[in-house]
Point group: C2
Chain length 346, copies 2
Amino acid sequence: MPSTPPSTKPAVTRNDVARLAGVSTAVVSYVLNGSKPVAPATATKVRDAVAMLGYRPNQAARALRLGSPEMLGIIIPDAQNPFFADLTHEVELAAEERGLALLAANADGSPERERRLVEKFATRRVDGMLLGSTLAVPDLQALMPREMPLVLLNQFDEIPGVGAVGVDLHEGALIGVEHLADHGHRTVGLISGTTAGGTLDPREAGWRTAIERRGLTPGPIVRETFTLPGGHAAGRWLIETGSLPPALFVSSDQLAIGLLLALHEAGLRVPDDVAIVSFDGTRDGEFSWPPLTSVAQPVRPMARAAVAALIDDPAAARRQLFAPALVRRASCGCVPAVSGTGPARR
Amino acid sequence: MPSTPPSTKPAVTRNDVARLAGVSTAVVSYVLNGSKPVAPATATKVRDAVAMLGYRPNQAARALRLGSPEMLGIIIPDAQNPFFADLTHEVELAAEERGLALLAANADGSPERERRLVEKFATRRVDGMLLGSTLAVPDLQALMPREMPLVLLNQFDEIPGVGAVGVDLHEGALIGVEHLADHGHRTVGLISGTTAGGTLDPREAGWRTAIERRGLTPGPIVRETFTLPGGHAAGRWLIETGSLPPALFVSSDQLAIGLLLALHEAGLRVPDDVAIVSFDGTRDGEFSWPPLTSVAQPVRPMARAAVAALIDDPAAARRQLFAPALVRRASCGCVPAVSGTGPARR
């Protein structure tokens, strides 16, 4: 890993914060670490001083506590989404290689719950934290002053001075839509997932780029939550309004599995009536009917990179963006779905 | 909740343990709580004395620490199984109602990893622990002497003096097989899941009871891991050996979804060629194709009961067994799967 520290900020120290807030440096630590209760008015003064000065704790001091680091924490936005279950599991394995256990907490789509969990982790429970935020850009006010090594997961947008790992969502959608174009489809629709912050998903821009680049006709866009029921509802809407396009890029495997149910219920065939490429590359999409062609996130390398960034070089504080890769199965038409009773396909 | 303490043990005290081990009572606490390092030889003496005397810490002292309980821990055997993701989520919601956050850790099928996670939780991280063990009967030697409120989850076997919540697996299989008999099937096979300890799953006994009670012909039994690939492998085996029965009870939704893929790949139809009832009642089974008729575990009531047992009355220390209930969908033939393009079925 590169070890050049970033030179993003002037050297504001804890002394400066203490002086401006009119408290001791110990009190500044209590507030930032949550290690001792401090009167609310005092805490506010400290936080105001931190914000005013743009103070960030010495990056070196944020390295994993010397002595006996033994536990990492991970906060994910939706523990019931198999992608995050897979990601958590890979982080767990990567942590275990370093002799560290992993505790997981679930923000369950709520930025408010996420904030509370960050508090709890930061206070005393873990030696380093991985955060897959419910928001496209998490609340850095709350995160950055803490003296806790932190790496963001599932992070597409670059945030200066913050360690982060993510997948190239724009590129992923581009790959998916171009693959449908390669199958001869001239109209490709989009089922997109919505997020807590309401920001536009980069996969939508990637879909649009591919449409333009290939001179395709844009099909309908449906936005739903990144869930099985969300995908089902999107499919029902497209069917009932008669607007189902011949090809669809779907922003997650969970959305696509929900969509498949709506198509089956209507007696429609995949890929004959509608070809599908989804996103994530989870095991659930491998076992759906038909199996999903999906733009897979490199979950294992991302998990290992995140743990390495946390442990080896928290001072590097940069974002690493990983390239997704197409996994071809039956839903796009690449692989015949039914093999008869002959020898195994897999 | 009942508050009568169980009268299962004579009053062996910490003093007795200290005397036999030749150490102070403080050292006994250090060892049992892991709150301070103790020389290995001393720790062994204390553990031997605990075992010899059958010492259990005062149940009252094991109630959630007074002051500021704020965090519960849950250890589950397989975080990638959606049933455990659902259970964890419901425990999280039940804990949140009590103002407690939940940290989750995954034993990932390994009793050894489970033991290490119990250690870590017990030492200092949480105020109470829920354990869904990888084993049919967890390692009580390791668990019971700890001064930490504990409730077992997913626990079928009764363990005297231990708080536990579980579902009636035997009854669940019985309901499932009898439902297939009600559809007119005279031969019902079984796809069963294997567990770390290698003990026989009570669902297998339930299947057998139903076969006998209804005078059915037992179909083949296939045992595989409780996973999607396990179910797929079981299906391939039944198809390739020509032993696929007209009806199957499948011990988990994940196994059944894997089975569905094998059947689809072979061009077989569900329920026409083979009718299926599975177990768990997860959302994944609601969105599979066809949707699974499944014997559902009452996840929410179980989660609430487990948290209540942990917080309100850890001294009650009894097992609560919940009744599962059949959810009828298409895989058994109760509900037609294809609705055409007409109005919504769901």
